[in-house]
């Protein structure tokens, strides 16, 4: 297996280090953009805007995952066979996520429709916890 280690030497050293720092920069920028979107989301924005922001954040998350797996874990530079045996099984997640989130949402709608008690319970506003916490202390 010394042969694999020796192969690493064929890479141009400077180019490899340059690529590492480039990917570091990309990951940092993506994270900062995510955080900026997160800070904007704290303000009162419409539900549609919020959804759009969340969608953007998910896309940025997948981009970050691609850079980590592709460059830091070196998968992009492996043989195509190896890439496929890792990536193709992970494609199951597409179905996995779609089906389960759809199912969760459907369960919520069904329960709200057929269990009015549960729905009315989930609409009662309660006091802030800090105020509730104070009460037993006062009794001590």
């Amino acid at each position: 297996m010394a042969h694999t280690a020796a192969e690493g030497l064929h890479h141009d050293d400077g180019a490899v280090v340059k690529e590492i720092w480039k990917v570091t920069g990309i990951l940092s920028v993506l994270t900062i953009v995510e955080l900026i979107l997160g800070f904007i989301m704290m303000r009162d924005i419409s539900e549609a805007m919020r959804l759009a922001f969340k969608g953007t954040i998910v896309i940025l998350m997948i981009a970050k995952a691609f850079y980590i797996v592709g460059y830091f874990m070196h998968l992009k530079h492996e043989l195509k066979n190896l890439i496929m045996t890792i990536v193709v099984p992970l494609a199951l997640f597409i179905w996995f996520i779609t089906a389960f989130l759809y199912e969760g949402n459907s369960y919520k709608n069904l329960r709200n429709r057929y269990d009015p008690y549960k729905k009315s319970q989930s609409e009662i506003k309660v006091k802030k916890v800090e105020e509730v916490k104070e009460t037993p202390k006062a009794g001590e």
Partner: protein
């Protein structure tokens, strides 16, 4: 004989005599392990998503994760502490790549230096998480206990804290094992084990694991703190 093999190799990867993936056995198995681990974390996160989608209300992460160490009581600084944690993990991932790269060049000193930085990063992340857990626990949050209200002011279930502590706990456990693995790698490097073997492939495998830990944090961070 060997020249014949190399000449025909690109077209006949599967005809025997060479590794069709051109990676060492241990590294391939590390990839498969990480793939299975990805499914474990994926199942956790999808379960969290399903429950969240089936709930009428959910706590606002900006109201829950709003403190950082040494801050005065009642400070409202959402996303600040978790961004610090995220950057710590990204930077430790970078030092790990540099350690792997130094290993390929058989540069022992650079491997040691970058491994130490990676270990420090890992310990720093774990300390941040320990502080965050302690703080949340002091506020009354734990498995089976949720002091936070839903974003719309209604009563929240314990699903939020259960998922938060289980998933970040499982991730934290991975970070902890990663730090232990990196310490073992550091000791082996200092003992010249890899110099004697003639290659630093072991560091590459540890590196794969460490990057995976960073990768999972990208998802955990997004799912719990951002959206």
């Amino acid at each position: 004989m060997s020249t014949v093999t190399t000449a025909t190799a690109p077209t006949k990867l599967w005809s025997g005599g060479k590794s069709p993936f051109n990676v060492e056995y241990g590294k391939l198995m590390m990839w498969y392990f990480l793939m299975s681990d990805a499914f474990t974390f994926g199942a956790f996160l999808i379960s969290y998503g399903t429950i969240r989608f089936s709930s009428n209300g959910w706590p606002n992460p900006n109201e829950v994760f709003k403190s950082f160490p040494f801050a005065p009581e009642g400070v409202h600084a959402p996303l600040v502490f978790v961004s610090v944690m995220t950057f710590i993990l990204i930077i430790s991932s970078v030092t790990m790549v540099l350690a792997v790269h130094a290993g390929k060049k058989m540069d022992k000193n650079a491997v040691v230096f970058n491994l130490i930085l990676t270990i420090i990063g890992g310990i720093a992340f774990l300390s941040c998480q320990a502080w965050e857990w302690t703080h949340l626990h002091s506020e009354g949050a734990w498995w089976g206990s949720n002091p936070f209200l839903n974003a719309d002011g209604t009563q929240s279930s314990t699903n939020f804290t259960n998922y938060f502590f289980t998933i970040t706990g499982f991730h934290g456990f991975h970070v902890f094992s990663g730090v232990v693995i990196n310490i073992v790698m550091l000791i082996m490097t200092l003992m010249d084990k890899f110099e004697k073997r003639g290659h630093y492939l072991m560091i590459e495998k540890a590196g794969l694991y460490w990057h995976f830990v960073d990768l999972v944090w990208v998802f955990v961070f997004t799912c719990f703190y951002l959206i």
